[in-house]
């Protein structure tokens, strides 16, 4: 799968309160959540972001709460993928569970600038920077995570296991 789009850039330690502030958590409706995505990191973001865009951030993206509303809000806003140097572990887990593609790459995080056009090959982790004509590689996705993706997320994976037992 090829994910191509324009980049919004964020820094270190973007926490889940910045991704989706708790004041909006009295609902879990994805479209409602998408209206406030990244609002406390950049209040104009929900208006600026377009379907098909990507987020590139630095270290520890998604730290803080366990709220799955965070990757749900990102996905529902039409953001195709998040690339960062590292992810907080619950966010990492949640993203695979709900099917938001995420990639870890120091080089991509350092070299990609806001507004760059990039193309991520989700199958092999190659990240092409079309604006700068550069190429980076993301860390390989662990085999179990690939199994989850192939199954279509944790719920589908669990369904299969229950049927098999």
């Amino acid at each position: 799968m090829i994910l191509k789009g324009k980049v919004w850039k964020f820094g270190d330690n973007i926490d889940t309160d910045a991704i989706i502030p708790a004041r909006y958590l009295n609902t879990s409706d994805p479209d409602e959540l998408a209206k406030h995505v990244m609002e406390d990191a950049d209040k104009d973001f929900p208006d600026k972001v377009k379907k098909g865009d990507l987020i590139v951030a630095e270290s520890n993206f998604g730290c803080g709460s366990s709220r799955e509303h965070a990757p749900i809000a990102i996905k529902a806003a039409g953001i195709q993928a998040v690339v960062a140097k590292s992810f907080a572990r619950i966010f990492y887990r949640n993203s695979f569970n709900i099917g938001l593609p995420i990639f870890e790459s120091d080089e991509a995080s350092e070299k990609i600038a806001e507004g760059d056009e990039i193309e991520v090959d989700a199958d092999n982790g190659t990240i092409k920077n079309l604006t700068k004509n550069e190429e980076y590689t993301a860390k390989p996705i662990p085999p179990f995570m690939q199994e989850l993706i192939a199954a279509g997320g944790l719920i589908e994976w669990t369904k299969k296991r229950i049927k098999a037992s």
């Binding site: 330690n13 926490d15 309160d17 910045a18 502030p21 708790a22 004041r23 958590l25 009295n26 609902t27 879990s28 609002e39 406390d40 990191a41 209040k43 270290s59 520890n60 730290c63 803080g64 709460s65 366990s66 709220r67 799955e68 509303h69 749900i72 590292s86 907080a88 572990r89 619950i90 887990r93 949640n94 569970n97 709900i98 662990p142 179990f144 997320g153 944790l154 719920i155 994976w157 669990t158 369904k159 296991r161 229950i162």
Partner: protein, 418 residues
């Protein structure tokens, strides 16, 4: 093996596990709250399982926006009630019986030493203080676990934190963990187990241990854990209604890093906006004026915290420019605080004394900050907008410093008001 590895191995039906290995472990308790359970319920229904795997191992606790703060919150809470009734969950806690989840489960003896616990809440790591493996996950993980009773884990590497010496006056578990996060940073223990030990920990009461493990996530940790001892035994003995197991770490257990702290050098500590790692000595922050003080949360809402704050504020008044909100974490703590006259101490000092709720900790209700307002809170996060407007600020501290700050209307150390 480390204690973390041993507990995981036992629950995965294996002799040994080692860091990096992927396992499926059997779960003792699964937790979700009014924010995370609605998604879990929705996803659970998609699985098409006949029923939950064990109705007595799933705890649903409406605590974040409860007592129901608005119609949407009421609808979310209703989903928990209805699901709990339909599946006859044995661990559903209605308003009036509930408390903040991470204070309630240890207090009621529901989580015990040696358990593997997951919760759709990041501070599920709190129960490591009892010598359990517990960690926060997402709502979908909980949905899957409710059907299967299992969860997948990558066995974490362990990092050891050793605390020597005795604590200075007004220094508690909160200060040790804030100091530690200040040292290693908010991702200093990313994906790792934080094993906490040392002579200062041996003499630390369970309340302080729970506070420390509660904040492991603030350093990126997967779990915090303390090898159980006499303090643990005394705490769980009276509460447990089932068997529990004490695990220890082997002498030759592997640690990726060992950090040592001399407690005589640790002073009452405050995390400044907007990261828990942004720590300073409380004494250096006396020029920061304070609009709101919050004492409560799963970090510091236990009876010991109430006592500590009351000791500082007894016979004094909250500063005219400041408001103070005290929230005991559970009904039992609330009752105890009334019995001991602590509730009266707070109300007479012009503070608010509230029914248990997460409330302001996550900017939910019961004390939201306006733009430009500053709060000092005994909670665990001070991210942008955490307690209200994105233009507000939160400082984190122990209960004694928070209470002293309420009296002075600025950040203060307890000695200043005594």
């Amino acid at each position: 093996m480390t204690i973390t590895e041993k507990i995981l191995a036992a629950h995965a039906g294996k002799e040994r596990v080692s860091a990096g290995e992927l396992i499926n472990a059997k779960l003792d308790i699964i937790l979700a709250n009014d924010i995370t359970a609605p998604i879990s319920i929705r996803e659970f229904n998609k699985i098409g399982a006949k029923d939950v795997f064990d109705r007595n191992k799933i705890a649903f606790i409406p605590d974040h926006f409860a007592p129901q703060k608005d119609i949407k919150a009421a609808e979310q809470c209703k989903m928990l009630r209805e699901f709990s009734r339909e599946h006859e969950l044995g661990l559903y806690f209605e308003v009036g019986r509930m408390g903040i989840e991470h204070a309630l489960l240890p207090e009621q003896g529901i989580v015990l030493p040696g358990d593997v616990v997951i919760g759709a809440d990041s501070h599920t790591c709190t129960y490591g203080a009892l010598g359990a493996f517990s960690t926060g996950v997402g709502s979908t993980d909980v949905a899957s676990a409710m059907a299967t009773g299992e969860c997948w884990f990558k066995v974490p590497e362990s990092m050891k934190f050793v605390y020597y010496g005795t604590l200075n006056k007004w220094v508690s578990g909160k200060d040790l963990i804030l100091h530690t996060i200040g040292d290693i940073g908010v991702d200093g223990a990313l994906y790792r187990a934080m094993e906490i030990e040392g002579e200062a920990i041996s003499s630390l009461p369970m309340s302080g241990r729970l506070t420390m493990c509660n904040m492991a996530i603030e350093a990126g940790g997967k779990n915090g854990i303390i090898v159980p001892d006499d303090v643990t035994e005394a705490y769980v003995k009276a509460r447990a209604k089932r068997e529990y197991t004490f695990y220890t770490s082997d002498k030759d257990a592997e640690y990726v890093d060992i950090r040592e702290y001399d407690c005589s050098k640790i002073q009452p500590t405050v995390s400044c906006p907007h990261l828990p790692s942004n720590t300073k000595a409380a004494a250096e922050l006396s020029d920061i004026s304070i609009d709101q003080v919050v004492i409560g949360s799963c970090t510091n809402g236990r009876i010991e915290d109430m006592r500590e704050a009351a000791e500082v504020i007894r016979g004094k008044k909250v500063h005219p420019n400041t408001r103070m909100i005290v929230i005991p974490a559970t009904q039992e703590i609330y009752l105890q605080a009334m019995r001991e006259g602590l509730a009266e101490t707070f109300v007479q000092a012009d503070a608010v004394f509230s029914t248990p709720t997460c409330g302001p900790c996550l900017g939910g209700h019961m004390g939201i900050l306006a733009k430009g307002e500053k709060a000092i809170a005994t909670t665990n996060r001070n991210f942008v907008g955490r307690m209200g407007d994105p233009g507000s600020e939160v400082y984190l501290s122990n209960p004694a410093v928070a209470a002293a700050s309420a009296v002075m209307g600025r950040i203060a150390v307890p000695e200043e008001v005594q």
